[in-house]
Amino acid sequence: VTEPRRRVVLSRPIHARVPIRWSTVLMLVAFLALGALYLEVRTVP
């Protein structure tokens, strides 16, 4: 019998009742932050 593989933090849900993974939250935050940064610093008209 093999032990069930432990899920890394990023692939775990943020809450038992909220089925959203930590990795999704992280990506969403990065998307919004980098998106805002891009709109701020872009030089192409």
């Binding site: 990506m27 610093v41 872009r42």
Partner: protein, 294 residues
Amino acid sequence: VKFQNLTDWLRNGLLPTVVLLLGAVLMARLVAWITHRYRHSLDEQARQTIEAGRAVSEATKRSRAVAQAIEWTVVSLIYFVAGVLALRQLGVPLTTLVAPATVAGVALGFGAQQVVGDLLAGFFLFSERQFGIGDLIRLSQPGQTTGVTGTVEELTLRVTKLRTVTGEFVVVPNSALRQVTNLSKDWSRVVLDIPIRATEDLAAATQVLNQAAGSLADDEAWSGLLLGAPVMSGVETIEVGYVQLRLVVRTLPGRQFEVSRELRYRCAAALQEAGISTAPLADESASAGGRTTP
């Protein structure tokens, strides 16, 4: 100047590319989440239907399969478009890639013609509504009745995944599906051929079997699975030492195996009780049987 170029590239090349790829992954996850929710609600509906003793509708099975195929297609499309846009954003001239892409496409086409065949076969499988998720199917060579039998667990444009009665998980590319026998479409039928010793009173045997089959139809636990009264069709074959009486009953799709087992049990018990032998004249050891089912 070089530093200025680098910062320009970071601002207008790398940064939007990263944002684009992150957006693509998020969008793919959103599509997967929506289809997962939809499939989960269909599964819940199907579970309640089965618990109520009814058959899962063809539309539900098909919707589940189509949802899976749509998810696969949309996610692939999102990643493809994001990949092309990211290359353009990084300054890779796409027009100059047309010629190498054509050569690569031809080479890939030769290598991946099996995959293309699978996808096309999957498309026709969906459009012709041959089977859906939850259906019991048998895969075999044309003209043969033996092959792999199992319940469809997953259906994509490329592969069909089955679970056999012994728990084996079988994955078959869609282009390899030659003859598919759907054992659970609309309705099913139990056909029992019951051997009766040649010297026995056939009228009495028929009456006993009729009563045994009638008891199944009257039983509340089983009547919900039947789509009509069991019918004794009569003498199916005359062999050396015994004859075979045929008993037929229509059942809900996919429920024929459990009904046939119960029917076989009741018939064997009733014949035993009535003292009617099922063993052929030359062989005293045989007992009541019927068609073997998974």
